[in-house]
Assembly symmetry: C2
Homo-oligomer: 206 residues x 2
DNA sequence: CAAATGACTAAGCGCTTGCTTAGTCTGTCA
DNA sequence: TGACAGACTAAGCAAGCGCTTAGTCATTTG
């Protein structure tokens, strides 16, 4: 339910192995969210998944591999959401608003995963970090392109495209710091608020 | 240089003890920033401060006490910055812009401390967490009050005061996630960008 | 139906952890 | 000058760490 979907719709065949891998990813998400990556033990992950410590290593070679799997899924999934939003309309202002809305909604729904992915980036190996960094550049590019298109169409007033793109992403991403599902605010409400604020941030004034 | 000032202008007397405490705080900031709280060993902190592991415990009873000291200083200091900004002008729109500007500038200048303080909140003891949570409520209140004042003066258009306050804080706080001092953007430039965006977010349109 | 496969466990290895103990050294003050 | 206080170190303890080894068991395959 709070596990993000794997990149292929879900990586399930009927086999036992991939089901166990899913249990491990879910267990690792719970553990990392509760104690952080360095503060989580492989024994904790194993027991949350209902198996012995050694069984973890049948499916993932290291604890960091589990973090990488979570991070990769999170980034691929949210990048896809953003891309779909970007392609859903031709109106530049609507596009930016929809992108922010969907990106915020994603981060609210998957706030646990988002927190792990954002705060434990530095715990990845240099190789894995490079792959994740590429997804992040992709995310930033999509927003920058949407802003540039709006400026060139004369429908937006954005002095600093790069800085504004980062600010729009901050709005969405930072909510993983404080948002808790089941609280007074729904993901949909947050998404609408952020979309409205985004419109104001990029619209021509007066 | 990147240590935040202690709450009394600086907690220095001439004595040896408080100077050593400062060295420990600085060493802990470096270590926590590099490896996270759980990933940092007391031996690492000690050696960065140029002393034996046992010497740390003369000044701080636990590793968590060092984190709390850093967190307390960071919150008190940034809260003070925000309060001073709030009192610096009577114009509601200028006030919000100045608050965002100063809060962003603080987080850029002390981005290492900001990252520790934001990401390791959960590593504090429940008691310490309560004290820090109170500072955070104070910060949110200041922003909410500034927005409410602007709405009541008829100079702002803010539908959701609480949500917009959180969004303005996100703009400032989230920069600790990606900002690195010495990069292409100065704290001052970021502060101005965020102040302009904040104005657009709360201004009456058309 | 024997051989092979692969998920899984019990036990544990070598190392590191936060923190303590016991004692040394330096500077202060009666 | 000698008793004392407090900053500091060398050594180490108990616990817990990531990960491995050796082997069990159920299922698949020729």
């Amino acid at each position: 339910m709070s596990t993000i979907p794997a990149s292929p719709p879900a990586s399930d065949d009927g086999d036992r192995s991939s089901a166990t891998r899913e249990r491990l990813v879910e267990a690792a998400i719970e553990a990392f969210a509760a104690s952080g990556f360095a503060g989580t033990t492989t024994r904790d992950i194993a027991s949350r998944a209902g198996m012995s410590p050694a069984a973890v290593y049948v499916h993932y070679a290291t604890k960091e591999d589990l973090l990488f799997e979570i991070s990769r899924r999170g980034h691929r999934n949210s990048l896809q959401i953003l891309k779909t939003a970007a392609e859903s309309t031709d109106d530049p202002l609507d596009r930016v608003a929809l992108m922010v809305s969907e990106f915020s909604r994603w981060h609210a729904v998957y706030s646990r995963v988002g927190r792990i992915v954002q705060y434990e980036f530095g715990a990845l190996t240099p190789e894995h970090r490079r792959e994740i960094a590429a997804y992040r550049r992709g995310i930033e590019s999509l927003v920058r392109e949407a802003l540039t298109a709006g400026v060139e169409a004369g429908e937006m007033d954005v002095e600093d495209v790069k800085g504004t793109a980062l600010a729009l992403l901050s709005l969405s991403i930072d909510l993983v710091r404080w948002y808790r599902p089941g609280g007074p605010v729904t993901p949909k409400e947050l998404a609408e608020l952020h979309a409205n604020l985004a419109r104001k941030m990029v619209s021509r004034q007066r």
